[in-house]
């Protein structure tokens, strides 16, 4: 489904991704763990098509075609979704207006009919209920005044609403308490499907207790340094990055 081949990427001339290779097949859940500053968020942005990240080498294939030249919205239309580590606050745009605009933009791009207001509200209510998001939050401007946890729930809500095929979650677990973590994890598990894949970026084993990954990758300094099964996450939890020969920087 997603194939990342020897990816090199730079910001402001600094190379951050230094030859990252990763293959994700349909239906698989992959986890990436790595110390702060190893380039995890950079990877997520590059996958989503952020323009100020310059890909200097390598390629990204989605459904076997390179997406390198595609804009973020074109990638979204193909089914790529990024749950942001730091969701952006946008004053003046009501969340529900935004959600409907996004859903309809995706539907148009995929050649589907727009959803009518009533059907949209029903759909929105369904996912909001499952994620414990209140009506009041949906009326507020996008992420404005939301707590860290509320922002992460809203990301999870968008994921559920927009029904992507390739989900990238960048530290969705940070800022969530145990209950919220369980709710978000249940949401992911519910969405797991043979034609939907996940790339879950996290620092902590605890999310992976709820969402069982098929593969775990350890990332350091812009590369994947080791790949394996869920046991890697346990080893990391027990022994720290030192066990992988990685010197962990002070928390950024």
């Amino acid at each position: 489904m997603l194939s990342i081949d020897n990816l090199h990427a730079a910001v402001d001339g600094n190379e951050i991704l230094k030859g990252l290779t990763l293959d994700i097949n349909p239906g698989e859940v992959h986890a990436i763990m790595g110390p702060n500053g190893s380039g995890k968020s950079t990877l997520s942005y590059v996958l989503a098509g952020r323009e100020d990240y310059e890909v200097t080498d390598g390629d990204i294939f989605y459904d076997r075609a390179s997406i390198m030249e595609l804009a973020p919205d074109e990638r979204a239309a193909l089914g790529i979704f990024l749950a942001f580590q730091y969701p952006v606050e946008i004053p003046g745009v009501a969340t529900t207006t935004f959600l409907r605009t996004a859903l309809n933009a995706l539907r148009r791009a995929r050649g589907e009919d727009e959803i009518n207001a009533a059907a949209f509200l029903k759909k929105q209510r369904d996912v909001a209920n499952k994620l414990g998001v209140s009506d009041e939050m949906l009326k507020r401007p996008i992420n404005v005044g939301f707590s860290g946890g509320e922002k992460k729930r809203m990301e999870a809500l968008q994921m559920a609403l927009l029904e992507p095929r390739m989900v990238i979650m960048d530290e969705t677990d940070s800022g969530l308490d145990i209950d919220a973590l369980r709710i978000v994890a249940e949401n992911v598990n519910r969405l797991r499907a043979p034609d939907r894949s996940f790339l879950i970026i996290t620092h902590y084993q605890r999310l992976l207790d709820h969402i069982k990954p098929d593969y775990v990758h350890i990332m350091a300094d812009g590369r994947i340094v080791q790949s394996g099964g869920p046991e890697l996450a346990h080893k990391l939890e027990a022994e720290g990055y030192a066990a992988f020969g990685i010197a962990e920087k002070a928390a950024a």
């Binding site: 100020d52 919205d73 979204a76 946008i90 401007p141």
Partner: protein, 412 residues
């Protein structure tokens, strides 16, 4: 206008003398960033009809009292039966009847002796509106004025509003003039004690038109002006708005937004005269500037020595959509009282890259994301229009203009 009252003929002679003496506005402190085309003369700006068809237009406001003007003349309207004593009428008609109220209101607050465009308006106005609301009467129905100047027309209009104590009224103006039309409209508002006047202007003239506006408001004790201007049209426009807070606890809200593209130039110049204690002024002025457009905001708050406990606030924000767009902002606080609360702020920014990326990552095209962010930026100014059906008209026009600008940006 046929059969002018003799007093007006006399005033016009005087007005013409002023114009001759003053000439058209030249570079000055007040006309710092804006100038009329060098080739223009007073003679070119005398009232004249244009050519072509008049536009078909229908107000979208239910139950509004409507007055439609073409080339500066009242042509039709919907003037239902009004509460006793209320006058809402074309100025031409009132002058023909030689209504004493016109003479009382006209030129009351406009120091035309020093401003040639106001003198020119006095000498040339062909029509306008008189709104008079007696003591305690609150008009529920808004007055809706539509003005259309045909191609190459020069329109001089005068709008006189007099609210007696505790009265309330709403005036909405929608301008949609054609190519190269020139409009010079002067508003004089006289607000009695505790009266409340809502004034919403939507200037959506053709992109080649010129639009000059003066708004002068006298506010008695406890009265309130609630003003909002949305500028979308005209190649060159300038609105000079002055409030005189004459009685205690008067309130003036002078809010404006502009959405410009191409080579449009829009100047919003305000002067708030706090000349009585305990008055409040609020200003939010927003400019969204694309293409090579230029926005000008000059905002002066003048607090006289007597005006203790003045509460003045002014905010000017600009969003630049292109590197060639420009905002000139000149806030000016002139404070002679010592116990006052006055603040002003200004921001200039571009569309936020993070916000653009976030929206696009959810599937919104660049155009759609940009439109949403521009709308969000302007919305908080448009929220000042408290009545929803009126606000909708403004929002729709703004959105239409927004997509024009985006299309132009997309092609660039």
């Amino acid at each position: 206008m046929t059969a002018l009252p003799s007093w007006l003929s006399d005033w016009r002679i005087e007005a013409n003398e002023n114009i001759t003496r003053l000439g058209l506005p030249a570079k000055s402190e007040s006309w710092k960033y804006t100038s009329l085309p060098a080739a223009w003369s007073v003679e070119k700006l005398r009232a004249k009809p244009g050519s072509g068809d008049a536009q078909k237009f229908r107000s979208q406001i239910k139950d509004a009292i409507t007055l439609d003007f073409v080339d500066g003349k009242y042509i039709k309207g919907q003037l239902p039966k009004l509460p006793a004593g209320v006058i809402i009428a074309p100025l031409s008609q009132q002058l023909a009847d030689n209504n004493e109220r016109v003479r009382q209101s006209l030129g009351n607050s406009t120091p035309g002796k020093t401003r040639s465009l106001i003198s020119l308006n006095l000498a040339e106005f062909t029509d306008g509106i008189l709104i008079y609301v007696p003591h305690g009467v609150k008009l529920d129905q808004p007055v809706f004025m539509h003005s259309f100047g045909r191609k190459d027309s020069v329109n001089h209009l005068r709008v006189l509003v007099h609210l007696e104590a505790d009265a309330e009224a709403t005036l909405i103006q929608h301008h949609t003039s054609a190519e190269n039309a020139v409009t010079n409209i002067v508003h004089e508002f006289d607000l009695g004690a505790r009266s409340k006047f809502h004034h919403y202007r939507l200037q959506d003239d053709d992109q080649t038109a010129t639009h000059l506006t003066f708004t002068e408001t006298q506010l008695a004790e406890g009265s309130e002006l609630d003003h909002f201007s949305l500028t979308l049209g005209a190649r060159l426009s300038r609105h000079e708005i002055t409030s005189y807070l004459n009685g205690e606890h008067a309130i003036t809200n002078v809010n404006a937004a502009a959405l410009l593209g191409g080579t449009q130039h829009a100047d919003f110049t305000s002067v708030i005269n706090h000349q009585s204690p305990h008055c409040l002024s609020r200003q939010t002025v927003k400019n969204v500037l694309g293409g090579k457009s230029r926005g000008v905001f000059q905002g002066k708050i003048h607090v006289h020595q007597i005006a203790q406990k003045t509460d003045g606030y002014q905010m000017n924000q600009a969003l630049l959509l292109s590197p060639q767009a420009e905002i000139n902002a000149k806030p000016e606080l002139e404070i002679y009282a010592d116990d006052v609360k006055c603040s002003h702020g200004a921001t200039v920014g571009q569309l936020d890259d993070n916000a653009m990326f976030y929206l696009r990552s959810r599937g919104l095209s660049a155009e759609l994301a940009r439109a949403l962010l521009i709308e969000a930026f302007l919305m908080d100014a448009l929220q000042q229009i408290s009545k929803e059906d009126i606000r909708d008209i403004f929002v729709e026009s703004m959105q239409a203009k927004q997509s024009e600008i985006s299309d132009a940006a997309g092609r660039a």
